[in-house]
């Protein structure tokens, strides 16, 4: 590249920064990411393996840790399918039909994203807690919701409500309703149309939404913390177990369990990138949050 001092169209200077500027900007961006992303990640693994492989395996095979992982899997196994079903129903209604009040409905679907996780837990404590009327009735009938697994599931469902719907709504709006209309006019039933036309069209977007929903369901901390009661081995999810271990200054164990959650995050990001790379065109128009 010749050093062009005059600005001409053929000169890269016209539409590109100088090499020095580029290198500086890239270095700045990567330094920022190193301080905020890469070093903390490296930290998790370094601390987890501080006492070697044995220390790590001992921490994650300890009964309370196993119980926490099991509870996390159970909660996600309930919350994710429920919100997937909701996402499909909501997307069908919003994307395939035109009706008054649609934008209000869409805002309501997004609402849990703008509620602090702690408040998401608090509302269920207020509703089902022992001082409310409903809570007293539940206590008389020996039904436990708050400080028990149902409360954890409810709080998790609340914070993960929008994920699948948000991925599917724009995608299905883009696809329109022509294919479904064609299938119906050729004599297909409603369910046949859904299973054979709609679902194949949205499968990758659906998977994408489910993936993000699952990551949040398994990693949720604030909302679950408020409703859990923190009973070791009983109502302790994996993120809560990390907190307990950390607060007991059992750092190696805390980071070992955190390591499992970090691996889950990597798996989620890996699959997400794979979906974007292989099936980008079948996801909603562009990346979204």
């Amino acid at each position: 590249m010749a050093e062009a001092t005059t600005v001409t169209l053929s000169s890269p200077r016209a539409t590109q920064e100088r090499r020095v500027t580029r290198v500086l900007l890239i270095t700045g961006a990567l330094t920022f990411l190193a301080l905020l992303l890469f070093l903390p990640l490296a930290m998790v693994f370094a601390e987890a393996f501080r006492n070697g492989w044995e220390g790590f395996t001992a921490a994650i095979t300890e009964p309370d840790a196993l119980a926490a992982v099991r509870l996390t899997l159970v909660v996600a196994a309930i919350a994710v399918p429920l919100n997937t079903l909701f996402g499909l129903a909501a997307a069908w209604t919003v994307a395939k039909f035109d009706f008054r009040g649609k934008s209000v409905l869409v805002t309501l679907i997004d609402l849990p994203f703008s509620v602090s996780p702690v408040i998401s837990g608090l509302i269920y404590v207020l509703l089902f807690g022992s001082h409310s009327l409903l809570g007293q009735w539940l206590a008389e009938n020996n039904i436990e919701i708050i400080f028990a697994v149902p409360g954890i599931v409810l709080a998790t469902v609340f914070v993960t409500v929008p994920f699948v719907a948000r991925e599917l709504i724009p995608l299905m709006q883009e696809q329109g309703a022509e294919e479904e209309e064609a299938a119906l006019s050729l004599g297909a039933s409603g369910w046949q149309t859904f299973w054979r036309v709609t679902l194949p069209n949205i499968r990758w977007g659906l998977l994408y939404g489910v993936l993000l929903c699952n990551a949040r369901a398994m990693g949720e901390f604030g909302a679950v913390s408020v409703v859990s009661g923190h009973i070791r081995g009983m109502t302790n999810t994996t993120p809560l177990h990390v907190e307990i271990l950390y607060n007991e200054y059992n750092f190696v164990a805390a980071f070992a369990v955190a390591c499992l959650l970090a691996l889950l995050a990597f798996l989620t990001l890996g699959l997400k990138s794979l979906l974007e790379w292989r099936h980008g065109a079948e996801l909603a128009a562009s990346r979204r949050l």
């Binding site: 600005v7 169209l9 016209a14 890239i26 961006a29 920022f32 990411l33 905020l36 992303l37 070093l39 903390p40 990640l41 930290m43 998790v44 079903l85 909701f86 129903a89 909501a90 069908w92 209604t93 919003v94 395939k96 039909f97 035109d98 009706f99 934008s103 805002t107 849990p112 703008s114 509620v115 602090s116 996780p117 408040i119 509302i123 404590v125 207020l126 001082h131 409810l154 469902v157 609340f158 724009p170 859904f194 990693g219 913390s225 408020v226 994996t238 993120p239 907190e243 750092f251 955190a258 959650l261 970090a262 995050a265 989620t268 990001l269 997400k272 128009a285 562009s286 979204r288 949050l289």
Partner: protein
């Protein structure tokens, strides 16, 4: 149009169909399942979101305006709310600047590992907040990898409001990058060439052509990061130090009030937070509406 933000992806009703409206509240369609899916959507939203959230407001109404004000205007609650919003604002502002930088570097330059870095930007969405919290707290503690370098300089990050800002910046990192990136990708290079032919320097092109185009997305990303940061709990409590009046955030105060069985106190702080967050949400939507009008895709 690129749909990157909270509600921007949902197009309004078709104008031609809207003009024909008036017979009812719903456009006729041969597709089945409208009533079923709408009923299910409303039922689920009602049971999971609206009734419990409504309950919160009913509880706070039981407090009365004076009771509510008494709790919220109390020094500790006021301090926590102020801390939450100020640190969230600072973190979102840092996110706006660094997010723009990251989006620019990722879309315009090539360097080794660019795709990996691009994928890792979403990590704060995927990594459980408690993990981020303990990792950042350990890293920035006075004996941590970074903290021990800052300590001799007299800079304390962990267990101070500065630590809160670090955690919130981590949490808000992807928002601005992911709202600005698609706009930069779609930006017509010919515009920049045209500016250059007309004699603009590179800096003028960036500030007068590129920045105004990116600004609405940047504002949206800023507002989303802000909204997220205000309510954040998991990543903050480990690094914050949680000293009342100094480094105690509003969500933590709610948790503390709950543990003291002070449900009124918890409710009032929660309602105050929610009201401010809803104002933010309204602001996000207003920015998006303005954005859509501006680019003529309303």
């Amino acid at each position: 149009m690129s749909a990157t933000t909270a509600t921007a992806g949902y197009d309004g009703p078709d104008p031609i169909r809207s003009a024909a409206r008036g017979r009812g509240w719903k456009e006729p369609s041969i597709l089945p399942g409208f009533r079923l899916t709408l009923a299910y959507t409303l039922l689920w939203l009602g049971l999971i979101v609206l009734i419990p959230l409504g309950g919160l407001f009913v509880s706070s109404a039981a407090l009365g305006w004076e009771g509510f004000w008494h709790v919220v205007a109390e020094e500790r609650a006021l301090g926590a709310l102020r801390l939450s919003f100020v640190t969230a604002l600072v973190a979102a502002a840092i996110n706006a600047v660094t997010g723009l930088l990251l989006a620019w570097v990722l879309t315009r330059y090539s360097f080794p590992g660019r795709r990996l870095v691009d994928a890792l930007i979403d990590l704060p969405f995927a990594l459980p907040t408690a993990v981020a919290g303990i990792a950042l707290a350990t890293l920035y503690a006075p004996n941590g990898w970074v903290g021990s370098l800052l300590d001799p300089l007299g800079i304390k990050v962990a267990y101070t409001p500065l630590g809160i800002i670090v955690a919130l910046t981590f949490i808000g990192l992807p928002f601005v990058v992911r709202t600005v990136q698609p706009v930069l990708e779609e930006l017509d290079r010919e515009l920049e060439e045209a500016a250059a032919t007309l004699g603009a320097t590179r800096w003028q092109t960036i500030t007068r052509v590129i920045l105004p185009t990116v600004l609405p997305a940047l504002l949206t990303g800023f507002a989303l990061a802000l909204a997220r940061a205000v309510g954040e709990y998991g990543s903050v409590i480990f690094i914050a130090g949680n000293i009342p009046y100094v480094s105690e955030i509003a969500p933590l105060l709610i948790v503390i009030r709950l543990e003291e069985f002070d449900y009124e106190g918890a409710t009032a702080v929660a309602v105050a937070m929610l009201l401010i967050s809803f104002v933010l949400l309204f602001f996000i939507n207003a920015v998006q509406a303005w954005n859509r009008r501006r680019i003529g895709n309303g």
